[in-house]
Each structure stands twice: as structure tokens, then as C-alpha cells.
Subunit: 175 residues, 3 copies
């Protein structure tokens, strides 16, 4: 139930919105049983240049573009706890800088605040910023294109000051 | 390893908990090979009425209810960076108001704090609140029902003051 | 586009990174069509001992290890709104204590701050901490092993003071 708002399932006049509705059920079944379900794994390595948000949308889109799987679910997973993932606005770079500033203030790099200090002033804040953002993202894919909104980009949020190698595991499943 | 707690895989007396255990493996395989794997995409539009949490559980459940896919994984993805998703308690509405209040205090709508101010005092805070919550949710589904806990509801968290149209991409994959 | 960093898709010399690249496409298709896609549901119960982070990596890995599905996507979903999920460093336990301390300061257990107080001083903060962390995690799986980084562990983040029973719904889909 939507409080104070209205919710619409898409109407029949926009069949592209609704994969199931756009085709008679019989055809839908046949289509998938012919194509079958598949999956693919991939690995991306980012050489980050210290703290900040690094957009990786293009690289992920390029991988999807070459896949046998056309429709399905993409998952991006970062194999670290001091860097994280974020979907954010890709238009005004000031948005990214404001996000970095907000998190820097919320989680100060002050060793007096933490027990875990052996790996540097920026390490424990990095773990906390990671906890407040995402370790993975899943995005529906249609015709090999992520169903991102117009202003959405995928970012690696690097929380450490030093340059580092960051690993992303990608997975796509569908038909 | 569970520190200071105990972890149980579900016991045999609760076979409904464990799909694999509830059926001899042979039957499980047959069942899935007969049904095959399928997927479905959908699109929901919410006309939000300004800042707040809007429950969309019913609308998503209604879509699932009509699907050919009975068991699997549902993904809800919001195609915006100034509104987000949240699973929260659906019993006491004060919980929702307290959440709104907490985020409003944590991320003040004060243009002096941000560089990105051209779209209004509430825009940059909206992006930050989005970064602190979810752009997508994935939920296991059994017998066309989301495996939500008793008190869990799915909410769109609108961070902008103006009324707006918000788009959700839904994806279901399974058998 | 990566600002100030470099992004590499994995090179041909690391074929294990790239499932699709490692095999001629024809073989990939055959392999999956022979194996077919399957899924499995499971349920884990944690008896938590009050506030803190409880690692459940071993229990989840043990379940995966016995599955017919070898490669795919694992989803862990917590059926509560006053406990949540987190992937964090599993090496130095001080990291976990610092995370607990940070969230305790950020979301004080002070009833004067909240409307929803009937369930105790720690209930509303529990919901907020849940909103700031994760209700679900999805992790790519290869050869029945989660593609976690070397230092990553999966944790249930218990936000209530009292001992409680916490339920996790697990889902694995793949081939």
C-alpha cells in the first residue's frame, strides 16, 4: 500500500515494460526453453589512485555486450572490505565530491577513535565507510543493457589513501 | 564460526525450511529439469508525494502472484539516485517517521555544506541518503511468495521534497 | 571511464578469471545445456547472544559445499529489521568492535530521540542500524566456493541487546 502516493503497474500500452505481458505465455515459454538459461563469470581489476569514486560503468557494459546471455541479472561484487560499490549520479562531478566529503566527516580519520590502528589512520574509517555502502550490486539486464536510470553510474568507492589494486567479481545469469 | 551465539542449520523436523532436504535429491533434479528455468522482467512506476517512505510490498507481491516462475530470486531495482529502497518494519508507522527524522538530521538540507546546490537544498542530501541505503534488493521467493519476515515491508525512500515519478525495474528468475 | 585510475579486464594469461573466455563458446553452451540450471533454498537459524557481529561464513560455505549447483549466485537474506547483514574483515576482531562502537555512537540508544519507544531503548536504534547496513547479500559462486576476497567474512549484525533467534533465507541458482 502506498501512503500519500500512487503506484502504477505499467499499462498494456507499454508492452516493452513487461516482458511477460508482451508475449503470449506459450511463446514466452518456448522462447526460453529454446534459448535455455546460461551464466557467465568475469573478473575486473581496478588500479585505483587513492581515495575517491571511480566509475566502472563502461567496463561492465562492455563485458555484458559480448555475452551470450541477453536478458537476466548482473551482479557486481567487490572482493574487499576497505573499498565498496555505489550507484550514483554520473552527471555532475560535484555530487561525487560532496559524497566523499560527507563520508570523510562522518567517519573521521582519527586514530584516537579506533582500536584497529595498525594499518594506518585511514584503514578503520575505510572499513566503516564500506559497511555504510555496498559490497555488491545486482542490476536487471535487457538486450545486454543494464536497466540503469538515465543518471546512474556504477562506482568503486576507494576508501584508502594509497594506490591499490581492487578486484571485482562479475556474474550474469539469464537467457 | 559464531562468536557467542549458536547457529543451526534447520533440523529434519522442519522440512519446509529446506527445499533440498525435503525431497530426495533424485526428485529435486527431475522437478527442475521438467519445469526448466525462466525469468520475467517488469516495471513499476510510483508517483511519490514528496519526502517519506512509501510501501510497495503489495504491488510487488501482486506481480509475483501472476508469474509462471514459482520459486527463485526476485530483484527490485530503483532507477534513481535521489530516491532509494529499504526493507523496514511494516507494523508501527512511528518506526518509519523515526527513520526519516534520523536521516534528515544526519544529512542536513543546508546548502552551505555542499558544492552541488543547483538543483535545490534537498538534492545533494537526497544523493547522500541514497548512498546510505539501497539501490536494489534481492529476495528469495518460494511458491510465488517473497521470503520476507513477518514484520518486513519493502519501501521506496523518497528523498526529494517535490512530487516525482519513480521507476522500479523488477526481475524474477527461477523455476 | 575510470578517473585517476586504470581498469583492466583480466588478461588472457589468467583464463580462470573468465569463465566465458576460458572455453570456446561452443563448449560453454554444451556444458550448461548438459548440466542445466538448478536452484536450491535453505534456511539457517542463529541464536544470537545480544548485540554484536556474528560470523556465519562457515555455515553458509558448508551448505554450498553439499549442493548440486556448482557455479552461480548465492543470496543470503535476513528476515528481520532489527538485525542485518554485513561483509567485513575476518582477520582482526578489533575491526568488528570498532564497527560496533561507531554504529552505537551514530545511533544513540536514547529514547528521547525517537517516537517508537515501546519495545525498548535499543529497538528504534536497531531499525536505523539495519537501514544503514544490509538486509541481503548476493555473492558469485564458482566450484561451490563463494568468490569472497581473502579477508572477507559474512556477518549477522545483531542490534538488539537481548538474546534472540535470527532467521536467514539462503538461495542458490546456477549450473
Amino acid at each position: 500500500m502506498v501512503r500519500g502516493g500512487r503506484m502504477y503497474s505499467q499499462p498494456a500500452c507499454q508492452p516493452w515494460h513487461n516482458h511477460e505481458a508482451a508475449l503470449p505465455r506459450q511463446d514466452t515459454r518456448k522462447r526460453y526453453s529454446k534459448r535455455g538459461m546460461k551464466q557467465a563469470h568475469h573478473h575486473l581489476t581496478l588500479h585505483s589512485g587513492g581515495q575517491g569514486l571511480y566509475e566502472v560503468t563502461t567496463e561492465i557494459a562492455a563485458w555484458l555486450d559480448g555475452q551470450a546471455v541477453r536478458d537476466g541479472l548482473l551482479t557486481v561484487f567487490i572482493q574487499h572490505t576497505s573499498a565498496s560499490l555505489l550507484i550514483q549520479e554520473n552527471a555532475d562531478h560535484d555530487v561525487l565530491r560532496d559524497i566523499e566529503t560527507f563520508f570523510a566527516k562522518l567517519v573521521p580519520e582519527d586514530s584516537a577513535l579506533y582500536r584497529h590502528t595498525a594499518e594506518g589512520d585511514d584503514d578503520m574509517p575505510a572499513h566503516i565507510k564500506g559497511a555504510l555502502t555496498q559490497t555488491h550490486l545486482s542490476i536487471p539486464v535487457r538486450d545486454r543493457r543494464m536497466q540503469l536510470g538515465q543518471w546512474q553510474g556504477i562506482y568503486v568507492f576507494e576508501h584508502r589513501r594509497a594506490r591499490d589494486e581492487r578486484h571485482l567479481a562479475l556474474h550474469m545469469i539469464g537467457g
